[in-house]
Symmetry: C2
Subunit: 456 residues, 2 copies
């Protein structure tokens, strides 16, 4: 059998040394966040109790490139550059003339793209003198990443995990503890926010909104503590661009130019990380890929939400951000892709979408898991539930190529493995997985609950 290459690897010396900030290359600047009380643009001082100066500066930066500190590069090199794979066996099983490439972030310590930002966040906080980091986590991907990164820089890490996940997914908690974090079931007795909820219902299953409130409350009340967020914000998307920068180098190494790029979107950091460097190339006229975001049909912020100012959390404690949102009061169905169950979309991603620079598509989870099982059986990797959405869209595109005979180059982001999500596969394989659609009737109340913000 003729030799064919499956993995396109970069040497550690080829690891990108700068993150890419898409903002200065966009045809219009993104809308600024507003203070929820004054409705005035928030400034660095508003963010100082929660984030160190370096991250605040990155959050509002208009510089095109930001240097990756040497200490961060040294940690990245534990797993980066991550591999880009040519999916020969998936292509064969589909009978498509398309050439499919996937960028795999499951090789990281947390098994997903999350450490790409957890590491610099821990580094900048440690440099600014923080002693501990607090955060929330749902299924646990972000908490795991921050637990690992905090330990490397001598920071304590305290994670409030959504109660339902804490109870149902004990292995994620164990992984956070293995990396040295303290994990609390949220709502907890450690915060006013948690105690208030528990007073009403001692067995409350929790929510990301409550867990955020607890982590923020603790950070705001301790000068040695800071808060860390794993998606949505500009500096998070900035850090993730290392994914796309590497992918550009890897495709160039095999002399390929992408026709279509697909990724999944929850908060938007994995998608932005992969696609913004390609968007730079597209805006500069050096390539012209279709860039497509895939979201779950049960939480369709881009395809069914409105573009409006809304809160980032369920409780309404954060600054107001202009984004595609289903309303901060929207409670998505408990689909297996926990990382995509967010009512809003990153403001920067939302802005890019509003500018018409990316497309969006919503898919039901059974189609996604069918794609994932096909992928596992051909390529040998069991995907996390989130990137099953990207794979399903990738397969749709590849089958369209089979129809049309086009040999398109499709690039997708396999942003994590599913080793801790096998209960979802069991549900799919045993026929217990269902698809829930979101009716207009169900969306109406949460959209009606958007905060009133006068037009500028």
């Amino acid at each position: 059998m003729a030799d064919r290459t499956h993995k396109i690897l970069l040497d550690e010396s080829q690891l990108p040394t700068q993150w890419y900030n898409v903002v200065p290359d966009l045809p219009a600047p993104p809308p600024v966040p507003l203070h929820p009380g004054t409705l005035q643009p928030i400034g660095p001082d508003d963010l100082a109790p929660l984030f160190p100066d370096d991250l605040i500066a990155q959050e509002v930066s208009t510089e095109r490139y930001v240097d990756v500190p040497g200490e961060v590069l040294d940690v990245y090199r534990l797993w980066r550059p991550s591999p880009l794979y040519r999916a020969h066996r998936l292509e064969q099983s589909l009978g498509t003339p398309a050439r499919i490439y996937y960028k795999y972030e499951g090789v990281s310590p947390a098994g997903s793209h999350k450490p790409n930002t957890a590491v610099p966040q821990a580094y900048y906080n440690a440099r600014a003198g923080a002693r501990r980091l607090t955060t929330e986590t749902g299924a646990g991907q972000w908490g795991t990443a921050l637990a690992f990164a905090s330990g490397l820089f001598g920071l304590e890490c305290e994670v409030w995990q959504v109660g339902a996940s804490y109870d149902q997914k004990p292995y994620r908690r164990t992984m956070m503890e293995t990396f040295g974090a303290r994990v609390h079931r949220s709502p907890s007795d450690l915060t006013g926010a948690g105690r208030a909820v528990r007073a009403e219902d001692p067995q409350h299953p929790g929510s990301l909104g409550i867990a955020i409130s607890e982590a923020v409350e603790v950070a705001a009340g301790d000068p040695g503590a800071r808060y860390a967020l794993g998606s949505v914000l500009n500096h998070v998307l900035l850090h993730q661009t290392v994914i796309g920068e590497e992918t550009l180098l890897q495709l160039a190494a095999v002399e390929e130019v992408p026709d279509v790029i697909v990724g999944c979107t929850g908060g938007g950091s994995n998608f932005g990380g992969l696609t913004f460097p390609f968007l730079r190339e597209k805006l500069a006229g050096r390539m012209s890929p279709v860039i497509r975001a895939v979201e779950p049909a049960s939480c369709p912020s881009l395809t069914r939400g409105v573009y409006a100012y809304d809160f980032g959390d369920a409780a309404g404690l954060t600054p107001l951000m202009k984004m595609h949102t289903l309303g901060h009061g929207f409670v998505p169905d408990p689909i297996h892709a926990g990382g995509l169950r967010y009512h809003g979309m990153s403001p920067l991603m939302s802005h890019v979408y509003e500018l018409g620079l990316v497309e969006a598509l919503a898919l039901p989870q059974t189609e996604c898991f069918a794609a994932a099982v096909r992928f596992a059986r051909t390529e040998g990797i069991v995907p996390a539930p989130e990137p099953t959405h990207a794979l399903a869209a990738c397969i749709r595109e590849a089958l369209a190529c089979k129809e049309s005979g086009e040999a398109k180059v499709i690039v997708t982001a396999l942003c994590g493995h599913g080793h801790l999500d096998l209960a979802a596969y069991d549900a799919y394989l045993s026929g217990r997985m269902t698809d829930e659609d979101v009716t207009d009737e169900r969306l109406a109340p949460s959209l009606a609950g958007l905060p009133p913000v006068p037009s500028a």
Copy 2:
């Protein structure tokens, strides 16, 4: 911070194209297996109902090298060559002048070294016209590997999983099913062996011995079916030598020569796979590493067993093999490293040990998990319970170097990740893990139950 390289990667074009057979290079040939009835050496005909001719030929081969078929290489390239890491951060945390390298097999589809032999076994069986493969599995690593490999070559895969594991570790079963296997709880109603056990106890928790009997019974009774074994046999160790051959190339690329090589031993295939190519170099006088096998104190076949003819399975159905054994009736404690809970050691490994070419050491599991947590927090990978034994021995050696000031080069095999073994970490971190020692009184009955084989 100065750049330093963490990963030594090989290009797919550098993947070894031959497996290495250590037998012709040994100073004496290994003892042959005996028929349990006649006590005469078994021949190819005795094995033909269970294995295809190609594998039987490899089992008894005296050729130094065996070509890896192109179809197998193409599958290997999905994850091979696997990375060799320099453990800079572990070294720092230990304050050792030693240079520690670890070869990581957790990047494979099953998350361990097992696919290295599952893929060629499936390939040769498919080429010989088999329609399905049967096997047993305990915790599920081997079953997962064979499930994946069988699917690639169009074979059905049927796995009898030890009942206790089937009940307690549903995620491993789901992973096998995701790769397309049918998984049965053993003892099952599908075989005479299983029915006999269930007649006595319908809720019997099963054992590897019973599961082997079921898988062998089904294969022997169906001309279209064959049986596959994941360790112990010569052809399995042969396939695993791809690990050591790659490691030799990777160390050469950074101009290092190992002083000490440590690996964990259960059936012996991971250890033989890593070390036999180095043993070749040692026997040829090109290097002189100490080669050290590490086994659990609760199942110490090399350090506390006898070197004698014994059965490979608990029920006494297999040929008699001369090996280091605790007696086929020995039931190890339920330690977390399920892959090391085997009463015997691979005959070939046993022979090499008997020749004085490798050392052996037994370690308690709490020391191993302490090493694993230190490793996870510095290197970012959560090890499987089995290689925690190798890591603990590696750390002992590195701390000895700290005392002596020697800058030894230590190479170890991280043969799998622990993403599906986090319950073990929870037991360790919560203080529930204990160490069980094996008393002479406990060993006596199983050693007394060895089959009587007259000296040749």
